[in-house]
C-alpha cells in the first residue's frame, strides 16, 4: 500500500534545454505520422543516461531503461541494442558523432543525465537528436523527489512521443484494474493500481469481497467501482489520497457499472429497482440520483462523451444488447449499433470521435470502435473472450481484458492486453498475476 500517497507527487519542473550549435537545415525530418496505415518503427538509440556523480549512475541507467521500455511498447520505436553502439556517450554536453550512429542505422538518438540536486530532488535532462538532420530535436529537464524516479523516465518518453507524433504522450499515467487469483469457482478479486508499464503495483482492497469495474475520476484522485462489501452489491468511491472508501448512497437494489462524468462531480451508473435496470446519474455533492432511462430492458455500461453532452450505453430493449446514445439528461435515446452480434461495454474516446465496445459474435468476442453515429465500425481484436475496452488519455491505445477458455483441469486465464487504435501492436500488459477490468487514468499533470 506504500504508493497510495504517491498520488500527491510534487509538481515536476520542466524546462527546455538549448544547446548552442550551428543549426543545419533538416535533412529528413524525424517524425511519425500516426494516421498513415502500417507504422514502421523508427530505429532509435537510447543511451544509458550519465550521472554527475557515481552514486546516481544506477538511477540514471534505470531512468533510460524506463524510456526505452515505454517507446518500445508504443510500437512506434525500435530501440537499438546498446552493444551495437560505436560511440560511447560519456558527456551530456557533447555533440554526438552523427556518422557513428548512421552506421548502426539509428535515426534518432536519446542522451541524458541524472543529477541529485542540493535540495534532495532528482533532476533528469535529456536531448533527442536527429541523426540524419544532425541536430537536436528537443531537449528538456524534469525533476521530482527521488522515489518517483520512474516518472522522470515516463516524462522523457512522453516528450519524445509528443515531439515526433504531434500528439500527447500517455506514458506518465496509471491503470486501475482488478487483480484476480485462485480457481474460477472461488476467485479472489482485489482493487489494484499500477503505473501504465506495470511498475509500482499495489492492492487497494483486501480480497475478502468481490470488487469489479474500477474507473478513475478525471482528477485521478478517486476511483469509482462496484463492490460486494455490503449485502447489496453497490457502487463505491475510493479516495486515493486518504485510502478511504465510501458507498455512493443507500439504494434498495444493486448499483453497478459506474463511471465518472467529465466534470468529476457526478457518477453515472446502473441501478436495479423493482426488477428494472436503468441508467442513473448522481451528483456526489447532493447524493441525489436522477433517472435517465426507464424502458423495461437492461440499460447498463453508461459512458459520458468527453464534453459531457451525451452518454453512450448498452441496452437490450430491442431484444439483444446493443449500443445507444442519449443526451446527458436522458433525451433523444437512439440506437447506434446495427452490425451482426451483441454489442456491450461502450466507452467514449477521450478525443470524442470514437466509441470503443465489445462485440460478441458467434463463438468469439471482439474489441472494436465506431463513430458516435454508429458509422465506421472497425474490429481491432478477436479472441475467445476480449472485453471491456479503456482508452489511453490521448485516444490512441486501448487496453482490454482477454480471457482464455478453460479446458480440463485448467481454468481460463484473465489478463490485460493493449492494442493500438489501428489494430496493430497487440501486446500483453505486465500485471502482478491475473488481471481484468483495466481503466486508464487521465494524464498525470
Amino acid at each position: 500500500m506504500k504508493s497510495l500517497h504517491a498520488m500527491t507527487r510534487s509538481v515536476l519542473g520542466a524546462m527546455a534545454l538549448a544547446l548552442t550549435m550551428a543549426s543545419t537545415p533538416a535533412y529528413a525530418a524525424l517524425q511519425i505520422k500516426l494516421d498513415e496505415g502500417v507504422i514502421q518503427p523508427i530505429p532509435i538509440a537510447i543511451t544509458d543516461f550519465t550521472a554527475s556523480s557515481p552514486r546516481d549512475q544506477q538511477t540514471a541507467a534505470q531512468v533510460s531503461a524506463v524510456v526505452r521500455g515505454d517507446l518500445e511498447r508504443s510500437g512506434l520505436f525500435l530501440p537499438l541494442d546498446s552493444r551495437s553502439y560505436i560511440e560511447k556517450v560519456s558527456s551530456f554536453s557533447a555533440i554526438p558523432r552523427f556518422g557513428d550512429w548512421r552506421i548502426i542505422k539509428a535515426e534518432g538518438l536519446v542522451t541524458g543525465q541524472a543529477t541529485q540536486l542540493a535540495d534532495g530532488q532528482l533532476q533528469v535532462d535529456f536531448r533527442l537528436w536527429d541523426i540524419f538532420g544532425e541536430k537536436q530535436v528537443v531537449g528538456m529537464s524534469f525533476k521530482t523527489t527521488p522515489e518517483n524516479w520512474r516518472r522522470l523516465g515516463h516524462l522523457v518518453a512522453d516528450a519524445i512521443y509528443e515531439r515526433l507524433t504531434g500528439e500527447k504522450g500517455y506514458f506518465d499515467t496509471r491503470v486501475v484494474f482488478i487483480s484476480e487469483s485462485g480457481p474460477k469457482i472461488k476467485r479472489r478479486y482485489r482493487l489494484s493500481i499500477m503505473d501504465q508499464d506495470g511498475a509500482n503495483p499495489s492492492f487497494l482492497t483486501s480480497g475478502d469481497y468481490i470488487v469489479l469495474s474500477p474507473r478513475f475520476s478525471p482528477t485521478m484522485q478517486a476511483i469509482t467501482y462496484m463492490s460486494y462489501e455490503r449485502a447489496i452489491p453497490s457502487v463505491f468511491i475510493f479516495d486515493l489520497q486518504t485510502g478511504q472508501r465510501e458507498v455512493i448512497g443507500q439504494y434498495s437494489g444493486m448499483t453497478f457499472a459506474p463511471r465518472f462524468a467529465p466534470d468529476g462531480n457526478r457518477v453515472v451508473f446502473s441501478y436495479s429497482r423493482d426488477n428494472n435496470i436503468d441508467v442513473y446519474v448522481v451528483d456526489l455533492r447532493s447524493r441525489r440520483p436522477v433517472r435517465l432511462t426507464s424502458d423495461p430492458g437492461i440499460d447498463t455500461s453508461p459512458s459520458f462523451a468527453p464534453d459531457g453532452s451525451r452518454i453512450v450505453y448498452n441496452s437490450d430493449r430491442g431484444g439483444s444488447p446493443q449500443l445507444y446514445v442519449m443526451g446527458a439528461d436522458g433525451s433523444g435515446q437512439q440506437r447506434i449499433s446495427f452490425g451482426q452480434g451483441r454489442y456491450t461495454t461502450p466507452v467514449w474516446s477521450p478525443r470524442g470521435d470514437l466509441i470503443a465496445f465489445t462485440r460478441q459474435s458467434g463463438q468469439t468476442f471482439s474489441i472494436g470502435v465506431m463513430r458516435p453515429d454508429g458509422q465506421g465500425e472497425r474490429i481491432l481484436t478477436t479472441s475467445f473472450a476480449d472485453e471491456g475496452p479503456t482508452w489511453s488519455p490521448n485516444g490512441r491505445v486501448i487496453l482490454f481484458t482477454r480471457t482464455t477458455a478453460g479446458r480440463g483441469n485448467a481454468s481460463g486465464n484473465s489478463s490485460v492486453w493493449s492494442v493500438d487504435l489501428t489494430g496493430q501492436n497487440l501486446r500483453k500488459v505486465l500485471t502482478p498475476g491475473e488481471a481484468s477490468d483495466p481503466a486508464w487514468s487521465p494524464l498525470n499533470r
Binding site: L212, A231, S301, N314, T358, A385, G388, T403
Partner: protein, 167 residues
C-alpha cells in the same frame, strides 16, 4: 479439477428428481451440488442439508434468458412447500450467468434471474420479506470449463438458506 464426477451425478438425480431435463440432456450436465453429502439417514428435517438434498437448491436458465423453465418450476414448487413448512427460514436467491457475456451485462442478467426466482417463489405464496435476491453475474461459476455443459451448469439460480434453519 472442477469436473463433475459421478458421485455428484447421483446427487443431481436425488436433488432434482423432478427436473430430469437438466440432468438427462447431457451426460455432463449434472449440477455440482455443494460439497460432500451427508447420508440420508443423518439429515434432520428442516435443516440446510434437508433443503439442499431433499428439496433442491439449484435451477437452470436458458442462454440469455431469465424466465423460469418448466424443469425449474417443479424445484421451486418443492422449495415453496418446504418454506411454508419451516416459516422461520430466510433465503438468499442468487442469479448466476455463464462466461459468454460481458461482466456488466451479466451482472444485470444475473439480477434478473435472481429476481425471477424470487418472484416465482412469491407467486407460490412465500412471503417476499423472507427472500433476498442477489446477482453474481459470471463471477461465481460452479464449473470452470469452457463448454456447453459447464455453461448450462453456471446459468443457474441458487437458493441458499441465510437464516432460520435447524442445524
Amino acid at each position: 479439477m472442477f469436473r463433475v464426477t459421478s458421485p455428484f451425478r447421483i446427487v443431481c438425480i436425488v436433488a432434482l428428481a423432478a427436473s430430469l431435463a437438466a440432468c438427462s440432456s447431457s451426460e455432463k450436465e449434472a449440477p455440482a451440488v455443494s460439497t460432500a453429502q451427508p447420508s440420508a439417514s443423518s439429515i434432520k428435517p428442516g435443516s440446510a442439508d434437508d433443503f439442499r438434498v431433499n428439496v433442491g437448491d439449484t435451477i437452470f436458465f436458458d442462454v440469455d434468458q431469465h424466465s423460469i423453465r418448466a424443469d425449474a418450476q417443479s424445484v421451486l414448487a418443492k422449495q415453496a412447500a418446504w418454506l411454508q413448512k419451516y416459516p422461520s427460514v430466510r433465503l438468499l436467491v442468487e442469479g448466476h450467468c455463464d462466461e459468454r457475456g460481458t461482466r456488466e451485462y451479466n451482472l444485470a442478467l444475473g439480477d434478473r434471474r435472481g429476481y425471477a426466482l424470487k418472484e416465482y417463489l412469491v407467486s407460490l405464496g412465500v412471503d417476499a420479506a423472507r427472500l433476498q435476491s442477489k446477482s453474481y453475474g459470471k463471477e461465481r461459476p460452479v464449473c470452470a470449463e469452457s463448454d456447453d455443459s459447464c455453461w448450462q451448469q453456471n446459468r443457474r439460480g441458487y437458493s441458499v438458506i441465510s437464516s432460520g434453519a435447524g442445524s
